[in-house]
């Protein structure tokens, strides 16, 4: 039961973040990019969470941020799973030289740490939020090729697949009727783990200022902006930092739970 409490709390946190980021902008028209009051007001002076160095409402920015980094990481994860999964599926079902080329290519990309690969892609495309998403998504794809290929191969080497090949099934039939249906749970838990990485990657890159625009209400950007005020207004860094950490912990817990269920 204690086991499940943490899963409920994790799902609860993620729903809360996402729900608030949709509901609050509908009922409140405070602009997260515009100053509303004096700068650096404490939560007591300007409830509920005070204002930042430019006098913007911290509560509004945090709540709006609940859409940006989690949404960006979701798009990045979809890119990773699609690109990496398709390459892994092709490698595992075709075998032969194509398999070797795909494995060799992804291993070579893996010689560059994921974060640096993502930074290289941002360098190529210019610092913007969109390029951060693409960089995190494509940057994690080589790792996903390796993981998904292993998962696919496990099924491909089962006796019933060999039997199916003996009965004349071709590669695409085996991929769509045996491999994908039997690996979808494992892929889902891999994708969940990847989401945690993508979230960490996205907020790290935006923390480094690679989203370009410093006015977006994004948690990594806010964490970086809070760095200058850790003495006089520590909540400016602590609030987005806690939001990032809680989200990563919640996704990790969900990923562990999903892999336990298999």
């Amino acid at each position: 039961m204690r086991h499940h409490l943490s899963v409920f709390l994790s799902i609860g946190w993620l729903l809360l973040v996402f729900g608030m980021s949709i509901v609050v902008p509908m009922i409140s028209d405070t602009n997260p990019r515009q100053p509303v009051s004096e700068p650096l007001l404490s939560p007591a002076q300007h409830p509920p969470l005070g204002t930042d160095a430019l006098g913007r409402d911290v509560w509004t920015r945090i709540v709006h941020g609940g859409r940006i980094s989690p949404g960006a990481s979701l798009v990045a994860t979809i890119i990773t799973v699609l690109v990496g999964g398709i390459a892994g599926l092709i490698a595992s079902s075709m075998g032969g030289w194509l398999d070797r080329v795909i494995v060799w290519l992804s291993n070579s990309f893996l010689a560059i740490p994921g974060l640096l690969l993502a930074m290289l892609l941002v360098a190529a495309m210019g610092p913007r939020l969109l390029t951060v998403i693409l960089a995190v998504g494509f940057g994690a794809a080589p790792g996903f090729v390796r993981l998904s290929r292993t998962v696919f191969l496990q099924i491909r080497e089962q006796n019933y697949v060999t039997a199916s090949i003996a009965l004349g099934a071709n590669r695409s039939w085996i991929a769509s009727h045996h491999i994908l249906p039997n690996t979808k749970n494992q892929l889902l838990s891999l994708a969940t783990t990847h989401y945690a990485w993508a979230f960490m990657g996205t907020t790290t890159l935006t923390f480094l200022g690679l989203a370009g625009d410093p006015s977006i209400p994004e948690w990594g950007v806010m964490l970086n902006a809070g760095r200058a005020h850790i003495i006089d207004a520590p909540w400016l860094a602590l609030l987005p930092g806690c939001a990032i950490s809680l989200t990563i912990l919640a996704v990790h817990r969900l990923g562990a739970w999903l892999s336990e269920m298999e």
Binding site: S108, P113, L115, L120, L208
Partner: protein
């Protein structure tokens, strides 16, 4: 590595030299991918200078010619590779200084941070891993295991800022002697190490649990050797090879981690250099740094494999 595992190899030298060739090939592939990824996606690297209004069309044309960007891509690639062999990484677009010199200036600061961080990572990781394997059933063991979990989950950007805030609070109460070293090195390095320690702890714990099942551990137990001694003396050494390989991986990730740590603690170094070069669109520096990181990664990975052969002679036969 698995394919010909049953074929006996002709000695350690062959194993090592094969591993070196493999490493060189991977490094070459990674460096080439870096080059082509930047060129194919970015298109014209100097176009951003033009769009930012930092140079006139004539100046851009001259710059392009002096950088050799008007040559075909393949020629540029061969030039880049031959430059890399001679230690020439090109010149910065903004300062016109050689990239090698710029990197060499910032390297000591990052090396100091990363090496101290690696020391902390091993110290914290081994401690947490051994405790969580040793006292598995007790709350101390569970505490160690969940601390290791937290270490992997928390972003360095946040733990760094948290550390800074706590440090300032403590410093306000009692001034620590030599706090400059603490502020500039110990604090950033320990937080950087903490981030890598979680993965190390997990591998130490899993590997120890696996080796503890071995028959020689049972034999040691039959000889009346205590649990703690069996774990630390009989099981830890055979449990180390996976830890060594992981540490080599982590060494490369530490390098990536320094990017964040240097920003949090406003330290100079390669990480800051990479971020500023990306923000300025100074592609030769970014390209040089990532190529260097890839070569560093493959080298450390290769050394780790060779070190693993030394620790566990059984591995020499199965490569």
């Amino acid at each position: 590595m698995v394919s010909n595992s049953d074929r006996p190899s002709n000695g350690a030298l062959a194993t090592v030299s094969r591993r070196v060739i493999e490493g060189v090939l991977t490094a070459w592939a990674a460096v080439s991918l870096t080059f082509f990824a930047l060129r194919l996606i970015a298109g014209d690297p100097v176009a951003s200078l033009l769009s930012q209004g930092l140079a006139s069309p004539d100046q851009v044309e001259n710059l392009r010619r002096s950088l050799g960007l008007d040559a075909p891509l393949l020629i540029q690639y061969l030039k880049f590779l031959s430059g890399l062999f001679r230690g020439d990484l090109g010149t910065s677009l903004y300062t016109s200084r050689p990239v090698g010199t710029v990197i060499a200036e910032q390297l000591p600061a990052t090396a100091q941070l990363a090496l101290t961080g690696l020391g902390f990572a091993l110290l914290i990781g081994l401690t947490l891993g051994v405790i969580s394997a040793w006292k598995e059933e007790t709350s101390l063991g569970q505490f160690a295991a969940s601390t290791a979990g937290l270490a992997t989950a928390l972003p360095v950007a946040f733990t760094g800022i948290l550390g800074l805030i706590l440090y300032r609070q403590i410093l306000g109460v009692m001034p620590i002697l030599g706090h400059d070293v603490v502020r500039r090195l110990i604090l950033p390095a320990s937080l950087l190490g903490f981030a890598s320690a979680g993965a190390i702890a997990r591998v130490v714990q899993a590997s120890l649990k696996e080796t503890m099942k071995g028959p020689y551990i049972l034999a040691a137990r039959a000889r009346g050797i205590g649990h703690g001694f069996r774990l630390l003396w009989h099981a830890l050494r055979p449990a180390l090879p996976p830890v060594v390989s992981l540490t080599a991986l982590e060494a490369a990730f530490l390098f990536a981690g320094t990017v964040v740590t240097e920003t949090v603690f406003s330290r100079p170094g390669l990480g800051r250099l990479l971020v500023t070069s990306i923000l300025q669109g100074d592609y030769p520096i970014a390209q040089g740094l990532v190529a260097l990181a890839a070569m560093f990664y493959t080298t450390s990975h290769m050394l780790a494999d060779i070190l693993a052969f030394t620790i566990d002679p059984r591995l020499r036969r199965v490569t």
